[in-house]
């Protein structure tokens, strides 16, 4: 609706006071999490407050210099990138395959979909706890099933062995969020114009050609939003890893959120944590701004 057309509607205009009265409470609350933390973090990050020292004098870029040389920090960032780069494509492809499977009529289709969506609804911390039950080396079913498949007794230490923790965390992550991709992509596929696909079939286009030329462009807007939502979630990955490994063994599965948690709430390096938190905000803002230009979230 154009601005001029809108202005003619009596419901489209109201006095300024009324408009702002409706918005004001929300804005006030949002400033609490939107602006206050930023200002406070910025202030504290230029001081040197630690567990033993309440030094509130201006320290310049001290914490930012520490940050650049902190290998544990950059490793945590790298772990986060690795989790995202592996889990996200798997979720996307599995979700797409499942969406294809359930696209056409199928007996009991609504029931299947209702059941498949359940993992998304489980709290991530419960999902992590569930998979730590599943992966238990003696009492969990995973080693038992692996034993049947390989025909010998398996006692793999899924949450301790450095070469197995990544697969374990990614399995839990993929289990919880593939249904999310599935549900969104199913809705997107259902909206693809069938006549276009039929026309392509008549023109002799094969399955893959039709998929890449017609289906993929049609579902891309939704796919992009699904990827964005998941990427942002994965960037702050915390709960599942916390329940499964607590970042271990050592710090080999520590994500950037967990690193900030340890620094701030276990080692009480207040000023340094503030610098880390700002780094996280800046990195995330860059991703969000870049992505929002390409994704049509609003109308």
């Amino acid at each position: 609706m154009s601005a001029a057309a809108q202005a003619r509607h009596p419901t489209a205009t109201a006095d300024r006071g009324f408009k702002l009265m409706l918005v004001a409470p929300s804005i006030l609350v949002l400033l609490l999490i939107g602006i206050f933390p930023l200002v406070y973090l910025l202030m504290v990050s230029f001081q040197n407050i630690t567990m033993t020292d309440m030094d509130k004098s201006f320290q310049g870029l001290l914490n930012y210099k520490l940050l650049v040389h902190d290998t544990r920090l950059w490793q945590a960032l790298w772990h986060t990138v690795v989790f995202t780069a592996i889990a996200l494509p798997i979720e996307l492809i599995l979700g797409l395959l499942m969406a294809q499977l359930f696209l056409d009529k199928l007996p009991g289709r609504p029931i299947f979909i209702a059941l498949l969506v359940l993992p998304v609804m489980v709290s991530p911390i419960v999902a992590g706890a569930t998979w730590s039950l599943m992966f238990d080396n003696r009492f969990g079913p995973i080693n038992q099933i692996a034993g049947w498949l390989f025909g010998k007794e398996m006692t793999l230490l899924w949450t301790i062995n450095p070469s197995l923790v990544y697969p374990a965390i990614i399995v839990a992550e993929v289990w919880q969020w593939t249904p999310f991709m599935f549900l969104l992509l199913l809705a997107a596929l259902a909206n693809v114009d069938k006549s276009q696909m039929e026309a392509a079939a008549i023109d002799g286009a094969g399955y893959w050609r039709t998929f890449f030329k017609i289906v993929l462009p049609a579902i891309w807007p939704v796919m992009a939003i699904a990827i964005l939502i998941r990427a942002l979630d994965l960037f702050r990955l915390f709960d599942i890893v916390w329940a499964l490994t607590k970042g271990g063994p050592g710090t080999s599965t520590e994500t950037i959120s967990m690193f900030a948690y340890v620094k701030g709430f276990q080692q009480f390096e207040t000023s340094y944590t503030a610098a880390v938190a700002l780094l996280i905000i800046v990195l995330l803002s860059i991703i969000v701004m870049w992505a929002l230009k390409r994704v049509e979230l609003s109308r």
Binding site: V29, P37, L101, V126, A129, Y261, I280, S298
Partner: protein
């Protein structure tokens, strides 16, 4: 059997297999909570309990650990009600009067994306100063603030879907602005209000990091309590599973009523159901 029926048969088998794989972990979680200690620590594992043993739940209620589920309920409910009330009014202003234009709307949804760890750290220091750590007020306030962008964004979309004609008629009939919102707009987007409220409730109910940082003993939520059963040497599987089930069943029940709105709610309104 013709080719089409054959195809459906194969798809059906694949559908069953996938569903079984995705539901098995949930089955395992639920089933452990009904096992006896002997069954939990049996090798090889016992695949189904021989009888329904409620002992794990009795322990949780007797020790008072189940109170954390009550805390979750209080915190999630109150923060949802406040966020819905405050957020929907804001959404109405954004949707109908375009208050603040696209910039304000975009700023609000971008607040949805701020990383929780970066927010909770300064909030924690602030709460220590004001004595709000481990209080209902503190954690409810943060959940309300964190869910507001979602509520505003979703309700803005639902309100935009409501035709203006009824509101205009009501204004002509002499309704005040507030009466229009309360008696016309709210009832018209009842379904949207309901769906958004359930999602908001679920986010607060399932949240872990904020609760871990801002609660101790008094208002600890069930998600925090679950992690208390992970020990250095051994884990209390029975308690972990029973507490998880107590926290998961309510969500499964409410989601059952939500099927039509799931896609819209999860895609931040990008797909309309």
């Amino acid at each position: 059997m013709n080719a089409s029926a054959m195809r459906t048969g194969i798809r059906l088998m694949a559908a069953v297999a996938i569903t079984v794989i995705f539901l098995f972990p949930i089955y395992w979680l639920f089933m452990i909570s009904f096992k006896t200690a002997d069954e939990i620590y049996a090798y090889p594992p016992v695949w189904w309990p021989h009888s329904l043993n409620w002992g794990s739940y009795e322990v949780l209620f007797k020790d008072g650990d189940a109170k954390t589920v009550w805390n979750s309920l209080v915190i999630a409910s109150i923060s949802t009600v406040i966020a819905m009330l405050v957020g929907t009014l804001c959404a109405y202003s954004l949707a109908r009067f375009r208050t603040g234009g696209e910039h304000l709307s975009n700023w609000i949804i971008s607040q949805r994306m701020v990383p929780p760890i970066a927010v909770v750290f300064p909030i924690f220091l602030l709460y220590v100063f004001f004595g709000l750590v481990d209080t209902y007020v503190g954690i409810i306030l943060l959940y309300t603030a964190f869910n507001l962008p979602y509520v505003i964004w979703m309700m803005r979309g639902y309100i935009m879907d409501v035709p203006r004609a009824l509101e205009e008629a009501a204004l002509v009939d002499g309704y005040t602005r507030w009466q229009v919102i309360w008696k016309v707009v709210f009832p018209m987007c009842r379904a949207g209000l309901f769906a958004t409220a359930i999602f908001t409730f679920m986010f607060a109910w399932n949240e872990f990091l904020f609760a871990l940082v801002l609660t101790r003993t008094e208002v600890a939520t069930y998600t925090v309590q679950v992690t208390h059963y992970f020990g250095g040497q051994s884990n209390f599987w029975a308690k972990i599973s029973a507490m998880s089930v107590l926290g998961t069943v309510p969500i499964f029940i409410v989601v059952a009523f939500l099927q039509r709105y799931l896609v819209r709610g999860m895609s931040l309104g990008a797909i309309k159901g």
